[in-house]
């Protein structure tokens, strides 16, 4: 199995406070990798390192991240962002129509052909299962969609630039159970095409959908391995405590 992302000795500190310490792991292609850990342990910071957003904050970063063989620090920021998409916790559709949300990034990258745009919109909306629900109202404001639909739109929007990797930072924590399971099924479908890294507070979710799980605590990677073994037979006492809920 190939690795989509290789992270070597990654450390990050925000004004002298270490948020990530010496993290090394390999994220396999076409798999879902879950990142779990207590609040403030550095999960979001970890994602920010993978799409380069960390460079825009006042943070000191050391270590190396390679994306299919290329050191990401050698890529232009916008190229890296195209290859590594990011979806946030609160669904944040742009205040414009569903269609325009979907063409926002392709137009930025110079695609103006209407047929091509239409194809992209349809294809990505279908991938996220949103197409049948909204196909007659693509002109409707995206702000009027339900919470779960908004989040699926944001995922579809992230896919419009054809990324290799899709990062999701607690994508379901603002959603109800039903919308959550719709998104979980969606992610399981998407891993055929994309490599997925998901930060989640919901351990059940990590167990249900992920192939690999990384447990981060206090900025350290405590344990990384196949989800089944992490949840059933963790090697570290710390991991066990966190998973059984006796943490803290």
């Amino acid at each position: 199995m190939n690795n989509a992302l290789t992270i070597e000795k990654l450390s990050v500190s925000y004004d002298n406070k270490e948020a990530l310490k010496d993290i090394s792991l390999k994220i396999p292609e076409h798999r879902i990798t879950a990142v779990i850990g207590p609040s403030g342990c550095g999960k979001s910071t970890f994602l920010k390192c993978l799409n380069g957003q960390i460079m825009e904050e006042n943070a000191r970063v050391s270590g190396k991240v390679t994306l299919s063989g290329t050191d990401i620090s050698k890529l232009k920021p916008s190229d890296l962002r195209r290859k590594v998409g990011l979806v946030f916790q609160t669904p944040a559709p742009f205040p414009m129509s569903i269609y325009k949300n979907m063409t926002y990034a392709p137009r930025y990258y110079g695609i103006n052909d209407r047929e091509e745009l239409k194809r992209t919109v349809t294809e990505k909306l279908k991938l996220t299962g949103l197409y049948d629900e909204v196909k007659d109202e693509l002109k409707k404001s995206a702000v009027k969609l339900s919470g779960g639909q908004k989040q699926r739109l944001c995922i579809a929007r992230a896919l419009t630039v054809d990324p290799e990797v899709l990062l999701l930072d607690e994508p379901c924590s603002a959603l109800d159970i039903k919308s959550t399971s719709v998104i979980e099924e969606l992610l399981l479908r998407l891993k055929e095409t994309y490599t997925i890294v998901i930060v989640t507070h919901n351990l059940g979710q990590a167990a249900r959908i992920s192939d690999m799980t990384a447990f981060i605590n206090d900025g350290r990677l405590v344990e990384f391995g196949e989800t089944g073994s992490i949840f059933k037979a963790p090697e570290m006492e710390e991991t066990k405590d966190f998973i059984t809920g006796s943490f803290g």
Partner: protein, 274 residues
């Protein structure tokens, strides 16, 4: 504690009552006193009379005021919106933001008569523009810049952080985000801020006195000539004493009516959303 909360409520009600009452009284008083001289000829004719302004109308002053205000807004609005956009979306250095904010606050603290003096010595004299609408408009533009900037920055600041970061995450530039998302979604607030800034400029006298407003001129044809202005005209009428008090009230009536209408338009654009 219960007494205290009652007192606070009473204080709040009194505050609102006094504020609304004062505004209502000023408007009603001016409209009552001014209504008698309001007529089509008052609005559409030039001032006349042995003592200027006791007879005739205020047409050149109305048009002059629109010129002064328009010039000020045209110069100020783009700069103010650009400054607000820079501070909100582009500036990554927190210290720079602090500096910019204090500069803007300082400008808003400059007495308008000082702006008038600056425009007089720099534009009218040193640059040789002479007394004209452009010189006054520049002073007014500086005066309303912080006013518009603060409102524009507030509108931009209300855009959701995650939305902006979603655009970043797609690799799109902040400029693209600004043009495609920020400007369209803040359009109404921005127009409203600009109109209110215009109202503020329209009522100001000190920046005009030495720089471009004159006691009498015909309707201006370009921004390079001096012109009459409503607040200046009003000032002169009142200064002349009892003989021209009626036309003074009429002038105030027209000014307030203009400002009221513009304010209502601005509020309707900016305030009623959501």
């Amino acid at each position: 504690m219960r007494h205290l909360s009652k007192l606070v409520k009473l204080w709040a009600f009194l505050g609102i009552g006094i504020t609304l009452g004062t505004v209502a009284f000023i408007f009603l008083f001016i409209f009552y006193e001014g209504a008698s001289v309001i007529s089509p000829s008052f609005i559409l004719e030039s001032p006349s009379g042995a003592i200027l302004g006791t007879e005739g109308g205020i047409f050149p002053a109305i048009i002059g005021s629109l010129f002064f205000t328009g010039t000020a807004v045209a110069m100020s609005a783009p700069a103010a919106v650009a400054a607000a956009a820079y501070i909100t979306f582009f500036c990554k250095n927190d210290r720079m933001k602090v500096v910019l904010h204090s500069v803007i606050n300082t400008i808003s603290g400059i007495p308008s008569i000082v702006l008038g003096l600056f425009a007089y010595s720099f534009l009218v004299k040193s640059l040789g523009l002479g007394r004209c609408i452009l010189s006054s408009g520049t002073a007014l533009a500086v005066m309303i810049l912080p006013f518009i900037e603060i409102r524009a920055e507030k509108a931009f600041g209300e855009l959701s952080e995650e939305m902006i970061r979603s655009s970043d995450a797609l690799g799109c530039s902040r400029t693209y985000m600004f043009l495609k998302i920020a400007l369209p979604s803040c359009k109404r607030e921005l127009i409203s801020a600009v109109i209110l800034g215009g109202c503020y400029a329209m009522g100001a006298t000190p920046p005009l006195i030495f720089t471009g407003a004159v006691a009498y001129a015909s309707v201006p044809e370009s921004i390079f000539e001096p012109a009459m202005a409503l607040p200046m005209h009003l000032y002169l009428l009142v200064a002349q004493g009892a003989t021209s008090m009626d036309t003074a009230y009429g002038t105030a009536f027209v000014m307030l009516a203009l400002i009221l209408i513009l304010t209502i338009i601005a509020r309707a654009l900016g305030g009623f959303r959501k």
